[in-house]
Symmetry: C2
């Protein structure tokens, strides 16, 4: 097919993944060849190079234990197939384009993408050329599949649990602004549900959002919350990583769950450790990983219509939450 | 170069990575071409295909938090370079050949290999054909570099700490037989040091080795130790993952550190959590990852003589260890 177009394989690859540095003339030659040969682009891509029997997995924050659960599920799902999983860790905070490009250049047959910061139109273009499953956002996609937990339901479970225990002064501990400004990301959805619940319940005056740019900052953010006027009696943390840091501060100060209740999100393995005993939302991270691989293999096998899979979260009540010692309205 | 040999690229690739299914005739044609063109094999491999600017990282147990530290270091070291890290998770307990083959097929320019079960001669052949750094064993290699922590020093630090606190009945908690039978792996070295220290100190009669095939089995293994005749007052666990499970059991039974002291290995992030507060050995996992990438890039740049880097471990004393309440000889 590269021969038909009269251009190099590298150029065809660039056009297919819409990389920079492709002249309009080269693009039209390649696209004409794709057209002439009657290939759909994604099929054309594989026709040029043959299947590699690898699935690319782009992810951020490789040290986030919640991602470990997702990866474990993906590894388990792929094990009995002929495919090998290849993970490209992206630089924290970036758009993940470089890691994704590397996976494309390595001829992965399809991509599972976590990149919460990748632009939707960039992903649409990529996905029009090869099978893609997005694992991080509630997008309305045309070309790629979506696998997510039901973050609205999960965040409501967390908030209802704290409110039903009698908490009113509930703070939300989340990551930096950049994680909550893009619509549809789990942090953005969980923050929105927090604000909505607090407002609906007439608790708007108790709204406090603390941010930690890195998990390491979460201790300082928690200390700041506790030092503020009218400090919270409960914290709904965006994930277990943040929640466990908040718990560290609480324990350091000798605060029990009735002084400061903490709810996390993800149910990472150590959340169930007796010393941690963190109340949290389990969104079945393993299933997210399994579904991502399953949908991607379907796409590699030829499916083109969009599918969405959502895992149902459940509340796991442990010792980090209790009735508040005293609650002032 | 494939053209010179009169064989396909795939065949050259197979010969270079010593894959199955290569006829002797094909092998000699390819090797003759390599010879004729005066290439060293590793250079020949890249000459055929050009650099991909990717580094492959094969690892087991993607959910092991100790590996997260190593990966974080590797990601940080590679970030300012033109290279992208690609991780191939291997199926637990396997030799990792499949994951390594996938990285070779994907044209990685070099490999960091954790595979503790891969045969040395298999690795030597691989490393004679492309840059390889082994990260898991104290091998005497001829073609690949070695990066390890000093497991002898680290295990002695752990044992000396427990003995100096007054413990005699010290048990060792480690993984399944397959992890300690191959000479030079960290679990094998740590077990050997444990046995040596116990014997040297005249404590041979207190030797107890408990095994957990998976981290999930560690709770049962700990319970069995505590239910045994003359139960241990201290456990030296092969890694923090196992140590934290042992700590779970101790806390469940209301045992304090003076009832059962526990030392881990790795200093994973949560070992320092106030609720866990695990005494452990820090072997600078981040530095292991950094060194692996650094040495591999040197090899990709042309170095061929073997280098070994060893990180120096240190003891981190926290609340999980104390003087024993009573020690009977």
């Amino acid at each position: 097919m590269a021969r038909t177009a009269g251009v190099s394989r590298a150029a065809v690859s660039k056009v297919i993944r819409d990389a920079y540095g492709v002249s309009p003339e080269m693009r039209s030659r390649v696209e004409a060849a794709i057209e002439r040969l009657g290939y759909r682009p994604s099929v054309a891509a594989r026709a040029i190079r043959g299947p590699s029997f690898t699935i690319g997995f782009e992810l951020h924050e490789i040290e986030n234990p919640a991602l470990n659960r997702i990866l474990s599920g993906a590894v388990a799902e792929i094990a009995p197939t002929d495919y090998q999983l290849i993970v490209a860790p992206a630089v924290a905070g970036g758009e993940g384009h470089r890691a994704i490009d590397a996976l494309v250049d390595l001829r992965a047959d399809g991509l599972v993408v976590v990149a919460p910061h990748a632009a939707s139109d960039w992903l649409e273009k990529l996905a029009s050329r090869m099978p893609v499953v997005l694992l991080s956002r509630h997008d309305r996609s045309e070309n790629y599949d979506i696998v997510t937990g039901d973050d609205v339901a999960g965040a409501r479970l967390a908030m209802h649990h704290l409110i039903s225990l009698g908490h009113h002064r509930i703070a939300h501990l989340t990551r930096g602004e950049e994680t909550t400004t893009r619509e549809g990301t789990p942090p953005a959805v969980r923050l929105e549900v927090y604000l909505d619940e607090m407002t609906q319940r007439g608790l708007a005056r108790h709204i406090k959002v603390a941010r930690a740019a890195t998990p390491g900052d979460a201790r300082r953010a928690t200390s700041d919350l506790l030092a503020s006027a009218n400090p919270p009696s409960a914290i709904f943390a965006m994930n277990d990583d943040l929640a466990m840091e908040a718990l560290h501060v609480a324990q350091e100060r000798g605060l029990s769950a009735s002084d400061l209740s903490i709810v996390g999100y993800d149910n990472v393995r150590l959340a169930g450790h007796r010393a941690i005993s963190l109340t949290t939302i389990d969104q079945s991270g393993d299933d997210l990983g399994r579904w991502a691989v399953r949908l991607l293999l379907e796409r590699i096998d030829g499916r083109t219509q969009v599918k969405r899979e959502t895992t149902q979260p459940s509340l796991i009540v442990r010792n980090s939450t209790d009735h508040p010692r005293s609650e002032q309205h």
